[in-house]
């Protein structure tokens, strides 16, 4: 069953699903724990670039379509959602989510 959590601005059209890893729970940006995860951050620091290279997708509560994270997502070809208001308080590490991004509109669902 899908439960809509929030929406934001998607960089590229994509549909991904996977386990959440909160940015605040990342211990080491280069570790293998990041591989295949959907990282969720409030306001990403510039070191987000390191985990962005390794993750499946990156979702940030803040930012617009030319914010730092969005630019990096485009540069590296990694699915990114920005301006996902409320996402940081809606999920925790280990939750399973689906992200559907079409024509810049991204919707994030929780899969129960």
């Amino acid at each position: 069953m899908l439960n809509k959590l929030c929406s934001g601005r998607g960089i590229f059209d994509f549909n991904v699903e996977g386990y959440v890893l909160l940015e605040s729970d990342i211990i080491e940006s280069r570790s293998s724990e990041i591989n295949g995860k959907i990282i969720v951050a409030n306001i990403p620091y510039p070191d987000a670039v390191i985990s962005l290279y390794r993750c499946l997708a990156y979702v940030a509560q803040s930012g617009g379509i030319t914010s730092h994270l969005a630019v990096l997502g485009r540069e590296m070809g990694v699915p990114v959602v920005v301006g996902a208001t409320g996402i940081f308080s809606s999920v925790k590490t280990g939750d399973y989510v689906i992200i559907d991004s079409i024509s810049g509109e991204a919707t994030i669902y929780e899969k129960n």
Partner: protein, 347 residues
């Protein structure tokens, strides 16, 4: 296709407004923890330096300064924000604003004139695996992020993106990161091994790059795997230039990962006032090439940063009460931002 010249302030605003809206989305904040509204805090000192810069660059003989094209636009933006909220009323502030913006266009055009000879002398690495294409994209992103940290969000002080250039039936983007060791801001960068890193990326010519005026790409499809060749030049601390082999790319990536992690940790240990102080220092660092030429100090005067910050917050609150109401709807936001960015409108 970039502009040859901004004919008027309105011409600039047509590009600034969508960029501003795109950058901040619905939440005007950044990792620096300094709300974008603090941009009102840039002082009269900044206005004076901007005026001095505009006079200098208006003299044709003095047109070349080591300021990245996008950074001229940032200075123009901050200049008008400062004149808007501070007491300084410059009679000709719109002319100064336009001069600064056109310096961006002019310095970019000068760069474009020189690049073709440079491209013909480069030896590109081609026949790339997808993993190598991703690695080059990662390297570009790492250097940009490193600059973002060095200059507290103002990465265009440290580097800029040029192009695209059509060369040998491909689309070339050149990313020139030329201020990677600002020891006046971060003493520790004396140990960073590169003064400059220039990356030349050749993409299939069926890509149409789109970007805002600060060189932030807005393409709706990924171009990472369209990379078909690359050349990367590093300049070390002694000024020695060399081109990277594929194996050496990993070394540079490793170095940048370590530095980015260290600098991020450094910021995370600082409080809001300490970060504000670094940010202000970075803003004024933009003027260093000017003051290196004309003499005098580029550094801002800090009497008491915490008091200054509080004072500025008061200014912001006053401005906020007058203008910064909650704005719903893109059209209303666009109209508000246009007024915000227009140097002819005083608050």
């Amino acid at each position: 296709m970039r502009k040859i010249e901004y004919a008027s302030v309105d011409d600039v605003l047509d590009e600034f407004v969508p960029m501003y809206l795109g950058h901040f989305g619905s939440m005007p904040m950044s990792w620096t923890t300094i709300d974008k509204l603090l941009e009102f805090s840039i002082s009269d000192e900044y206005v004076d330096a901007s005026v001095k810069l505009s006079k200098y660059i208006n003299d044709a003989e003095n047109s070349l300064l080591s300021i990245n094209p996008s950074q001229y636009l940032k200075i123009a933006y901050r200049f008008q924000m400062a004149t808007k909220s501070q007491k300084s009323i410059y009679k000709h502030s719109d002319e100064i604003y336009l001069l600064l913006c056109n310096s961006s266009v002019r310095s970019r055009a000068l760069f474009d004139t020189d690049i073709m000879n440079k491209l013909s002398s480069l030896k590109f690495h081609a026949e790339l695996e997808d993993s190598e294409k991703r690695k080059i994209a990662y390297l570009n992103s790492l250097i940009r992020s490193y600059c973002e940290l060095l200059y507290c969000d103002e990465h265009t002080i440290g580097g800029d993106v040029f192009g695209e250039y059509t060369y040998d039936k491909n689309a070339i983007l050149m990313r020139k990161f030329n201020k990677l060791r600002p020891m006046e801001i971060h003493k520790i960068t004396k140990d960073f091994p590169y003064s400059e890193i220039h990356t030349y990326c050749s993409y299939e010519n069926n890509i149409k790059f789109s970007s805002d005026i600060f060189g932030n790409f807005t393409n709706e499809e990924s171009y990472v795997l369209k990379l078909n060749a690359w050349a990367i030049q590093t300049i070390d601390i002694d000024g020695k230039s060399s081109f990277l082999s594929p194996n050496e790319v990993d070394t540079v990536i490793g170095t940048l990962e370590v530095w980015i992690t260290q600098l991020t940790d450094l910021y995370k240990r600082k409080d809001r006032n300490q970060i504000a102080k670094i940010k202000l220092l970075c803003e004024y660092y933009s003027f260093k090439p000017l003051f290196d030429k004309v003499g005098g100090s580029w550094r801002p005067v800090y009497n008491d940063i915490s008091t200054q910050e509080e004072g500025n917050e008061q200014n912001i609150l006053v401005a906020a009460n007058r203008k910064l109401t909650i704005i719903n709807g893109l059209e209303q936001r666009a109209s508000y931002v246009r007024e915000l960015l227009d140097p002819r409108i005083k608050w």
